[in-house]
Symmetry: C2
Subunit: 198 residues, 2 copies
């Protein structure tokens, strides 16, 4: 039996498009990237991109969904290894640091929230789903950490999860203007406000 080269080629191109779309989304925003920004670097034509993703909305949705699935796998890894809450928090922060170091990308959520009134409803729905998952996970991690006397804070873990998620999202954006040091200042302060040792 022979392998099916065309199927492989499809998967590769598709994945390459999604990789680039994800990067462009985080670097420039949904409105500010075009099919040309995708087809040119890949050495293909915009019609080829349309073959894989008929509309820009479909491309955006697929990009965000893949990002979300990757996040799910990431946190699943923590559950399977019985990681402690601090390791989980550090893991979430590590994702943001990765974005920061990778060309000052911002969280896709932050971009889509900023552009919220101008993006298609399908994209909004995907963003909502991602936001919910992140928030649930941060909240549970904070609650578990407090129960184990690792984190110390006043108020509900719901409120604290909102604060930390929003602060990290804002931190990545702020870093574009104020530099990477402002991002790390925020991470330091988040940890102090959880009663963690420096």
């Amino acid at each position: 039996m022979h392998a099916k080269p065309q199927t492989i080629a499809l998967a590769n191109t598709r994945a390459a498009i999604l990789d680039l779309a994800e990067r462009l989304l985080q670097e420039k925003g949904y409105n500010a990237f075009s099919y040309k920004d995708i087809s040119n670097p890949l050495g293909i034509k915009n019609a080829a991109v349309h073959y894989h993703f008929p509309t820009k909305t479909a491309l955006g949705v697929a990009t965000l969904r893949r990002y979300r699935e990757r996040f799910q796998e990431y946190i699943l890894g923590f559950e399977q290894s019985d990681a402690d809450p601090l390791a989980k928090l550090n893991g979430y922060i590590a994702i943001q640091i990765d974005h920061l170091r990778n060309g000052y990308r911002v969280c896709p959520l932050g971009i889509l929230e900023a552009e919220y009134n101008t993006i298609p409803s399908e994209l909004r729905a995907e963003a909502k789903a991602l936001e919910k998952e992140i928030w649930f996970w941060v909240r549970d991690t904070l609650a578990a950490g407090r129960e184990q006397n690792i984190f110390h804070f006043m108020g509900t873990s719901e409120d604290k999860a909102c604060l930390i998620a929003a602060a990290l999202q804002g931190a990545l954006q702020m870093a574009r203007i104020a530099g990477a040091s402002s991002f790390f200042a925020i991470v330091r302060q988040i940890k102090r406000d959880l009663g963690l040792k420096e």
Copy 2:
């Protein structure tokens, strides 16, 4: 002596354009609003907008500069009335609540940071100036509040100012997806983490 009607007319149109541009900037972002979005509601033609602001860059810069000057006047009012640090912090939060209640607008800084890689350098410079002013003022307010035993927190007021500024910025954005309640959750938590009574 007669008044000069044409001068007054100019000032009115100019101000009306800036009002609308500011709203559009905070609601849709810099890239997503057009001259048509401005001229149509005002009942004028796009050429008239170009008369007052030759380029979109000039319009964006003027919009942001006026926002910054208003902020300067706002904090000057606090200095002249010898307001205490808590009143100042609440004043800053009140600006954000005003944005939230006014059609889920976000902080202009947040929008411009998200679009940072796609906006003209003149706009970036204006955003930097605004960011600096806000940060200095929040930092000084936090430091004074700690000295007066009103605020209580670990770490430097520099770090804490970064955290609070980023969190409020992220809170306005998050509210678009998660609703206004998530914004107020973050405000509550910020105050708790400053050792303020509920």
